[in-house]
Amino acid sequence: MRQEMDQFAKDLDRETYEAVRSASKAKVQQRLDALNGDFDNPDALRKLAKQIKKNVRENLGEYLEQAEAAFQKNGATVHWANDSEEANAAVLDIMRRRGATKMVKAKSMVSEETELVSYLEKYDIEAIETDLGEFIVQIDGDHPSHIVTPIIHKNRRQVGRSFEREGLGEYTEDPQTLTTIARKHLRQKYLDADVGFTGANFLIAETGRIVIVTNEGNARFSIAANKTHIVMVGIEKIIPREKDLPVFLSLLARSATGQALTVYTQFISGPKAVDQPGGPEEMHIIFLDNGRTDVLASECAEILACIRCGACMNVCPVYRQTSGHAYRSIYPGPVGAVLSPLLDKSGFAELADLPKASSLCGACQEVCPVDIAIPDLLLRLRNRGKKEGAKKASVNTPGFGLWAMAATQPAVWKTGLKLGHAMNVVPHAVLNANPSARSWQKTRNLPEFKGGEFRKWLKQSSAQKEGKK
């Protein structure tokens, strides 16, 4: 039996593997060029961002209250949702009260967490993804495999076939033409819709503004073309003061795509201005918990600093080998290996193998714009998996009970050393009876046992010294 992720990597088709690897490599270089080119000391900036987010975690309650008051003063309505059901129900309720049946949405990872689109479709509401990558995922009935570039696992031929299949146009694999087709098709959707839905990259507590960071213009259009704007945002996205924002804006796009700023950085504090003819008359913001308060109270609270840049997965050797879908959850890569088991509705055990899918190389922490100590958190979760006896965490892991006994009882250890030499004449096939031993030896050669020499030498040399006295 293999670890699920090992099996996934083994079954992964070559096309997908190549697509993920080459895109990840490019992103890693773009990030390096942007940060080292534009800052003398990018690490000092990362540490500053880390510090701000630590302050946020320590004072989150006050900041959330401050944000709520500020948004209300600005004319927005704030809702609080404990979990997916409450969040989705809040969206449905708002739409019903507005007589709305059509939604256009920008990319929002929290809405994937709550499975908003499939929930709304049960109530005959059309909810169209407008981010190009997410649109393609939607028409394919697929799932995103990266939090910033959702179709990193697809190539242009696959996209072309999907567009043709959906009747969007004749087959083409030219990315420019495909994009033009999407522009035309989605343009009509924006104009026909009633509600624009977005997430938020940051929530500014001091002044009650959300910040949305995009390149395509789909968030702008979803909002500008409709009379109602609904926002869903994780409670950890708080930034305390407006003047703290440049720290994060200088890191986010550079870490994600190598840009100094994405094309559109929107700062939205409420419904449209009174004299502005275009845009929402109502703005609703849903503060989502969905497990975050439990994470805040846990030994892994630091993961809540994540600003969803994707740099960790771009650099992670495990992510590159397996691709995002191997993680069986919304958040893949190193951040997902920590966050996903903690947020999983069915409990920690379901994804307890994810923290083990790592060599603890630490590359993720080195590129993280908020310097999250991901390897530390992975170790804590491995410990938790062991303590809770999570089956998935111990696939192919040998029981360490025997070793623990031998290591704490010298007589047993010495006997073990003597028996060790016997191992050299035992056929490996016999050793492979144990599944973890078999798996270990698939890629390693068991070395010749040469133990016990030091004790022998120490005995002899002490005896000699005694003799000389």
């Binding site: 959330l64 390149n215 259009f221 073309a225 100094a260 700023l261 929107q266 275009g278 308060t293």
Partner: protein
């Protein structure tokens, strides 16, 4: 207990447990966020122009240049915000002076104001108050933002420090783009494919 009380209760309990006293950075420390591209005050316009064109923004410096550009794009139908006081020869173009959202896909170009420019990143700043219709700055293939040189500020931090209570402030840094398909950069997705700054 409603959801709000439940969530705040759990958050505050966790905050108590964390018992931290991490301070927020001082104004001096926040200066770290200014990149090396942030110019001194005597190089604002020059830096803005370099950075703007560096992100594929198009730059025109006079009405003649603007007209040439529009002709090169074979763009004749458009909307121009009358508050800008531009004297473009109406006979050469088919121009509305009130934005008609019903003609959202008829307008080939729209000309509206930008309130600020950011030299550090090559960005222009739009807002609700000065944009005649949100779609006029977003929907056409060609958008021309009119910017005065003396509204260019040095860095992102300076622009943020100027925020008022406008509900929709937008930093625009070039034409809309995507790299979702194989990481290949395509310009002109849902927003303008040609983003022009008319700098006066």
């Amino acid at each position: 207990m409603n959801s709000r009380e439940q969530i705040l209760g759990k958050v505050k309990a966790a905050n108590q447990k964390l018992k931290g006293n991490t301070a927020l950075p001082s104004d001096d420390e926040l200066l770290l966020a200014r990149s090396n591209n942030t110019p001194r005050s005597d190089a604002l316009v020059e830096t803005f122009c370099t950075r703007w064109t560096g992100v594929s923004g198009l730059l025109v410096r006079s009405e003649e240049e603007l007209i040439s550009f529009l002709q090169s794009q074979e763009a004749t139908t458009g909307f121009i915000d009358p508050a800008l006081g531009l004297t473009i020869n109406k006979s050469m173009f088919n121009i509305d002076s009130a934005y008609d959202p019903g003609k959202v896909d008829t307008y080939q170009f729209c000309i509206t104001p930008a309130i600020q420019g950011i030299a550090e990143t090559g960005s222009i700043v739009l807002n609700d108050e000065t944009t005649p219709h949100r779609l006029s700055a977003l929907a056409p293939w060609i958008h021309i933002a009119v910017l005065t040189e003396n509204s260019i500020v040095s860095g992102v931090g300076d622009a943020i420090a100027c925020f008022n209570n406008d509900p929709s402030i937008i930093f625009v840094t070039g034409p809309s783009k995507t790299a979702d398909i194989e990481g290949i950069l395509i310009e002109g997705v849902h927003g303008p494919g040609k983003q022009v700054c008319f700098l006066i």
